[in-house]
């Protein structure tokens, strides 16, 4: 007679659970591979020696690692990278701060007509770039802001306001009204309530808004090419000139592409930590 004895934790599951799970992971793996193919080519080609680069051997791993590509494009790309940083950092900071103030008065310090103003602001999100291009360029020229980075910053800040306002309005809508009421009774006016009570709990919203604004101003090409002169070109325009030129070796194109997208990745890694943090934990009774 054999007795079964428990040897460890027992899982209660259907007989098909295992095969189903394996299938699911295989499917997900296949999707991941599909989406990562271009990235693979980008990285692998950028690291190849010029002699190994060819379309027919695109998929092969490099036989020896070479940073030649990076060395070649760095001088050409550097001014663009610097310009883009000078563009994207102020844009993400200014539009997040303004979005925070907007979102605060639209959700927690409401004024008569807030319900009309908010949809009007949101409307700005749905206007396509192309529709405003000509009036925008004319306006900037009349303002004397064409050619420099300041005009481009202004344009991106304004274009980003609807989305940052939306982000902060939703975020603040989720915090308790009683917190704001407590600040009012404690003697704080609108600006001090914003500064001392609302902003300190908003880092997650700042992370989202800044990642968004950094990425979109970094990746923008159209406004950059229309509004800046050669010495102020952002990296996207510089990249276009490298990639679009005749006879440019593949590995150089790939290396510059890789360089151009690193900063956005970096911002995501740095700010992404704030995404999930439960900064509101313990604010209220729970």
């Amino acid at each position: 007679m054999t007795t079964r004895t428990a040897t460890g934790p027992v899982r209660i599951e259907s007989r098909w659970a295992r095969p189903l799970q394996v299938g699911r992971y295989l499917l997900l793996f296949a999707f991941a591979c599909f989406f990562l193919m271009p990235v693979y080519v980008l990285v692998v080609t950028a690291l190849k020696d010029p002699v190994q680069v060819s379309v027919s051997r695109m998929w092969e791993l490099p036989q020896s690692l070479s940073l030649n590509g990076f060395r070649e494009v760095w001088p050409k790309l550097r001014p663009g990278l610097v310009n883009s940083v000078l563009l994207a950092v102020p844009v993400s900071i200014i539009s997040s701060v303004l979005g925070a103030a907007n979102g605060f008065v639209l959700s927690k310090w409401r004024f008569p007509g807030a319900d009309i103003v908010f949809p009007l602001i949101l409307f700005g999100m749905f206007i396509p770039y192309q529709a405003i291009l000509i009036p925008m360029v004319r306006t900037m020229r009349d303002l004397g802001m064409q050619g420099g980075l300041d005009g481009l910053i202004l344009v991106h800040v304004i274009y980003g306001l609807p989305i940052t306002t939306l982000i902060f309005r939703s975020y603040f809508a989720g915090i308790s009204d009683e917190l704001i009421d407590a600040a009012k009774v404690d003697g704080a006016g609108m600006l001090r309530t914003l500064a001392y009570v609302a902003l300190p709990i908003a880092p997650p919203a700042f992370a989202v808004a800044m990642i968004w604004q950094f990425t979109s101003s970094w990746n923008d090409f159209l406004f950059g090419v229309m509004l800046t002169s050669k010495e102020n070109w952002p990296v996207t325009v510089a990249l276009n000139n490298i990639a679009g030129g005749q006879q440019v070796p593949f590995h150089e194109v790939m290396a510059s592409g890789l360089l151009a997208c690193l900063p956005t990745l970096l911002v995501y890694v740095v700010l992404g930590r704030f995404f999930m943090r439960g900064l509101m934990a313990g604010a209220l009774k729970g």
Binding site: L179, D181, A182, K184, V185, D186, G187, P200, G282, K285
Partner: protein, 406 residues
């Protein structure tokens, strides 16, 4: 009886006033109303006079407008009509920042990114109190409330009771003209609630600050309030000392709402100087205005309005207990009465607002009474016993208006 009962003015004059600090400030509400956008009339022409240093409790079923009234006093909600006075100042149109009252919220609303120390000091900081003075007062209040060892923690790292004390401390530290408290104990467990209630009473005796306290729990209201204002559907019903409220409710709603277990009601008729219900004839108390009346009434008897039948001449009621609730020193008996049940808006609203144990689970035609008898009185389920009705402790209400008939 569908119309809300008309508001009733405060009656009692003999209010025991605690020693008021010389600088204590009174609060006066004159015909204060609030109609929200969308048409809800949350507060309807409330008159209330809170004396300097007094502890007044606003009580009523949830949704009756207590919080709205309190928020109007704080300035967080604009009035739709009427005036609010703090001392001799008309503050009706002042911002909350300018009113110098402190509020304790149900959720505590502690600032999550500030330490306890900064939470406590925030109100002083906003009012430009100098740092040394601020630190001194924060330290003093922290000591009174036993928060010294928590000063450098964030609210997230505190227990519910500790958060509650920080919320209280944030109000105290400012030494405001008045404390406004909106159900501050309702998120605590029952035991802590009772001990905080006692602490709150002691704190008030010590500080003597004018306080308006909101709760839906009539036990809390009765134990804390020097006076208790009962609100129903935005209308102030009665504002009186707990004793007076209990002994002389102005209407059916107040009678049903105050007291635990709640008052028993039965439809009865009055004629020939006596009330008749369930084959029982109870003589009216001496001097009753109903002495010569011949009409239908609603009769109310508190569970404690019965005695054990003895030779005191009280009319007796033979009853069979259905349920016996053992309380140690006392017992609650639930008995069927051979008379129609009273089911009015007022009693239903009052009962629904209370804990479910008072509510009848099944709709029934017959009235049921809860009777409180001494614990040494032998009773058992199903055994008939004689209960004497104390004629002095009967209440009569008009079946149409719900007003007390004396």
């Amino acid at each position: 009886m569908n119309a809300p009962l008309p508001g009733t003015r405060p009656q009692a004059a003999n209010i025991p006033l605690q020693r008021a600090r010389p600088e204590a400030t009174g609060i006066r509400l004159e015909q204060v109303s609030k109609r929200f956008r969308g048409g809800v009339l949350a507060v309807d022409r409330v008159d209330l006079d809170v004396r300097p240093g007094e502890f007044v409790v606003l009580v009523g079923p949830s949704g009756c407008g207590k919080s709205t009234l309190l928020r109007m006093i704080a300035g967080l909600e604009a009035v739709s009509g009427g005036r609010i006075w703090l001392g001799d100042q008309d503050v009706t149109s002042r911002l909350p920042q300018e009113r110098d009252v402190a509020m304790v919220f149900q959720s505590y609303a502690l600032y999550p990114r500030m330490t306890v120390r900064r939470n406590l000091g925030f109100g002083l900081r906003m009012r430009h109190t100098g740092r040394p003075e601020r630190n001194r007062r924060v330290a003093e209040v922290a000591e009174v409330l036993g928060l010294e060892h928590l000063l450098d923690r964030r609210p997230a790292a505190l227990s519910g009771g500790q958060r509650q004390r920080v919320a209280m401390g944030r109000a105290i530290v400012r030494e405001p003209k008045a404390f406004l408290m909106d159900e501050p104990l309702s998120n605590l467990d029952a035991k802590l609630r009772v001990s905080m209630r006692a602490q709150l009473s002691r704190l008030h005796q010590r500080l003597g600050t004018t306080t308006v306290y909101v709760t839906h729990d009539q036990v809390e209201a009765m134990t804390l309030g020097q006076r208790v204002a009962v609100l129903r559907d935005g209308v102030l019903q009665q504002c009186d000392t707990p004793q007076h409220l209990f002994r002389h409710p102005v209407n059916l709603f107040v009678a049903a709402f105050i007291g635990s277990p709640s008052m028993n009601f039965v439809a009865a008729s009055v004629s020939g100087g006596a009330a008749h219900f369930a084959d029982l004839r109870v003589p009216l108390p001496a001097g009753s205005s109903l002495a010569t009346a011949d009409r239908q009434v609603i009769l109310g008897i508190r569970p404690t309005g019965f005695g054990v039948a003895e030779s005191n001449g009280w009319p007796t009621l033979r009853a069979v207990p259905d349920v016996v609730e053992e309380l140690g020193d006392e017992r609650n008996l639930i008995i069927d009465i051979n008379a129609p049940r009273v089911d009015t808006d007022a009693t239903r609203a009052a009962v629904a607002a209370r804990t479910a144990d008072d509510a009848l689970l099944l709709p029934e035609e017959k009235a049921r009474f809860t009777v409180r008898v001494p614990g040494d009185h032998p009773v058992s389920i199903g055994e008939p016993l004689d209960l004497a009705v104390n004629p002095e402790r009967l209440y009569f209400f008009d079946p149409e208006t719900g007003q007390t008939l004396r």
